[in-house]
């Protein structure tokens, strides 16, 4: 019985003109957004490859502890073609003495209360346009049929009222589902063909799960439209109601929550947190550059040393041993004073993120009846672009940093780097090597080309210079620098059960709201005047 009904409903939908308009519009939008995002993804992939190459090269060529800046690089997530989720920094630079910073992203983010903006991705199309499209199809599906008069004839057939509602719902559902499913799977085929080397099982898993969510979404909105259609006998009026509901769901509620209610609730805490974070960063900067005690202040000494002239040579350059000791003191000072503060700063940053996750959860529960909000958060979870994923990325990079500190950069290696060899030079011999220009250039390049070396070597004398050069070569052989291993950030590969566990609560809400809406709709239709 249901099959001829359904067949009829689908044919009926296919034959109406406004459908073509909406379907064409949706397909055009879908295709445009998909192509734009696929091109963008290709760019991201290229950028990623460049980043990796550059990083490898930098590491290979690094000869000095201060040059070690490995980066944790996140591969672009292929599913981001469909859903961007939150903006996640793809590259985080790890410096030996610096906290993990991605100065651009991190600092920007902490200053903004709500940094998510609506992104033009497929999820946005679905929540914004497809919902409108569904409502435009279904707003008159019941009262329109009454107005035409066919409902009366239909109601003289042995057909339960639930079956009629089911026919209507499934009709709209299948129709919209098809309009979505066909381009969606076509685009997945396109991705498979084009990006086959970056695909994983995870992608297909997510794709299917995402599709399933969209189906739930379509079901919800089909029911919503039909429910509204049962509420009034006048199709014009139900059109207005549908538009109002849509504006309410996709514009008014999210905006009023984000810009009016949530700031009232969370503004203070977040401002406090981000102020705390900024304070920590400032404190760390002070410790590193301003508060260094004199006996550990080798960096500043060294700096002045190379940038000044004779005046400083005599006063500040310490001897070979003394320099090492001073450097060691500086290192210990950093370990004891600077690192704890940067760890605090990191924790403050985590705290902000956790607060945001909390806020997002509250938002999801406040909007539990609003599938648009749910849908956005669900797809962010699936695509690996949620705030939890951002935190996970940060933690992984910190692990890498700790590894560097603990294993990769040994003190011995640091102390034997060529930079310090130059400190051995004594001012009284510098005057004697003016004619050793080639040797001077060699050492000059070796030392990294710092400016006032010329004067230095004017005074050092050939004998000493050759001696130090040989010393340098032997040092290099003795402590052959072993670079710490560089690690790329691996996207977590979710198993089905993981995804499921992550979003189960939301799924339950979604399904329950669909069921409630279904019951409400057919109960409403029981009292519908079919004459």
């Amino acid at each position: 019985m249901l099959i001829p009904l359904l067949e009829h409903e689908l044919q009926n939908l296919l034959k109406s003109r406004r459908i073509y308009l909406t379907v064409t519009m949706f397909l055009l939008l879908f295709a445009t957004v998909f192509i734009v995002r696929a091109i963008d993804f290709q760019k991201q992939i290229n950028q990623y490859n460049d980043d990796v190459m550059l990083n490898d090269k930098d590491l290979r060529e690094a000869t000095n502890y201060s040059q070690i800046k490995p980066r944790a690089i996140q591969k672009p997530i292929i599913f981001s073609i469909f859903n961007e989720g939150f903006k996640i920094p793809r590259v985080i630079t790890i410096q030996y003495y610096e906290p993990i910073t991605n100065t651009m992203t991190l600092n920007e983010e902490t200053n903004l209360l709500y940094n998510e903006s609506t992104q033009l991705d497929i999820t946005f199309l679905i929540t914004f346009f497809l919902s409108l499209f569904i409502l435009l199809i279904s707003y008159d599906s019941v009262n329109g049929e009454k107005q035409v008069g066919t409902l009366r004839i239909l109601m003289t057939y042995p057909l339960k009222r639930q079956s009629f509602i089911l026919k209507k719902t499934l009709g709209v559902f299948f129709f919209v589902a098809l309009t979505f499913t066909i381009p969606y799977f076509l685009s997945i085929m396109g991705i498979t063909y084009h990006f086959v080397n970056v695909l994983s099982l995870n992608f297909f898993l997510s794709a299917i799960f995402y599709w399933f969510l969209v189906m739930l979404f379509i079901m919800f909105f089909s029911l919503l439209g039909i429910f509204i259609s049962c509420c009034t006998t006048n199709p014009n009026r139900s059109l207005v109601y549908c538009l109002l509901v849509w504006i309410m769901f996709s514009i008014v509620l999210p905006i009023s929550w984000d810009y009016i209610i949530a700031p009232r609730l969370y503004n203070d805490t977040l401002t406090q947190l981000s102020q705390g974070y900024r304070d920590k960063i400032m404190q760390a900067q002070r410790i590193m550059y301003n508060d260094v005690p004199d006996e550990a202040n080798i960096n500043l000494v060294g700096h002045m040393n190379w940038s000044g002239r004779h005046f400083f040579y005599e006063t500040n350059v310490a001897g070979w041993k003394a320099t090492h000791e001073q450097h060691h003191r500086y290192q210990m000072y950093i370990y004891e004073n600077y690192f704890p503060v940067t760890r605090d700063a990191e924790q403050a940053y985590d705290e902000i993120q956790r607060k945001r996750i909390y806020m997002e959860n509250v938002r999801n529960w406040v909007f539990f009846y609003n599938p648009i909000v749910l849908f956005n958060s669900l797809s962010a979870q699936i695509t690996g672009n949620s705030r939890e994923d951002l935190l996970r990325f940060l933690h992984t990079t910190r692990e890498l940093r700790d590894e560097l500190v603990n294993l990769g950069v040994s003190e011995e290696w640091l102390l034997d780097s060529r930079f310090f060899i130059m400190y051995e030079l004594e001012t009284d011999v510098m005057y004697n090597i003016t004619d050793q220009y080639d040797l001077f250039m060699l050492i000059y390049e070796y030392a990294g080309g710092h400016g006032p070396l010329e004067d230095f070597f004017n005074e050092i004398g050939e004998e000493r210079a050759v001696g130090y050069l040989q010393e340098m070569v032997s040092q290099q052989e003795r402590y052959n620098m072993v670079l710490p291993r560089f690690r790329r950030y691996e996207q977590p590969i979710y198993t089905f059960s993981e995804i499921f566990a992550r979003i189960l609560q939301y799924l339950v809400v979604f399904v329950v709201s669909i069921l409630v809406l279904w019951v409400m709709t057919w109960r409403k239709f029981l009292g519908f005047d079919v004459r």
Partner: protein
């Protein structure tokens, strides 16, 4: 066979549209309901069709009760309204096909589900009700009212229900179409269908009906058989009832 006992309907606004209506039509008879506007004719038909629930009383068609088995009762009735409206995007044939497809009688204890419409050749039915061949595969939007009426009766035909409920089926039909339609109804009656028809056309009511009933204020105030009416002026009687002369006489 149709039996209505003490059927009453009070609308939500307190309007008592049917006041203990009792009525019985035997199998294979045409019953025409006369009555002024607002007498409750449509309300009665709507209740039988299940469009609106009654506030009291019951309806039986072939021993199936509306209150006990509303779904099965719908298999027993076919309905034709004053203005047959169909799916505009479909052709006449497709409309008929759709309604034929859903005329299935649901399975009951001991009986399998059957579809009585299956035994009809739909094209032939459309020809039988007088639809020109060139319109059979034409969109409904191009049909005139009379042609839609023909599709409507074809739909009622293939449903193969023993009881036909017609609410002012002649209104707006031209004389030729009315004549054809009347002939069709006679044919149906001869096939053993019971027909309940509301109308404002006293002449046709008298000509067609086996029994004529007059409704007034939600009550059946008069029933007369064809033989009883032969020597009487139905128009006169109708006006008497409508203007409540009869009632007033009774009261005096």
């Amino acid at each position: 066979m149709l039996k209505i006992t003490d059927l009453s309907k009070r609308y939500e606004d307190g309007n008592l549209a049917l006041d203990n209506l009792c009525l019985e039509i035997r199998r294979g008879k045409i019953f025409t309901l006369l009555g002024a506007n607002g007498a409750g004719k449509s309300t009665a038909i709507n209740i039988i069709c299940g469009f609106i629930p009654p506030t009291g009383g019951d309806v039986w068609v072939d021993e199936i009760s509306l209150s006990e088995n509303p779904l099965l009762l719908r298999c027993k009735i076919a309905y034709l309204s004053e203005n047959v409206m169909l799916y505009d995007n479909f052709t006449g044939y497709q409309n008929l096909k759709f309604f034929a497809d859903i005329s299935k009688i649901p399975a009951t204890k001991g009986n399998k589900a059957t579809n009585p419409a299956m035994k009809f050749n739909l094209i032939k039915v459309l020809r039988d009700v007088g639809l020109q061949d060139e319109f059979i595969h034409e969109n409904i939007s191009k049909y005139s009212k009379g042609m839609r009426q023909k599709i409507g009766i074809a739909i009622a035909l293939v449903k193969d229900a023993p009881m036909l409920l017609l609410d002012e089926p002649f209104s707006g039909l031209d004389p030729k179409a009315s004549h054809d339609f009347q002939a069709l109804l006679y044919k149906l009656r001869n096939d053993g269908k019971t027909i309940l028809m509301s109308t404002h056309d006293i002449f046709r009511a008298k000509e067609m009906a086996d029994v004529v009933g007059i409704m007034q204020g939600g009550k059946l105030v008069m029933t007369k058989t064809r033989t009883e009416l032969e020597s009487e002026d139905l128009n006169r009687i109708y006006l008497d009832y409508i203007e409540e002369r009869v009632v007033m006489e009774n009261e005096e």
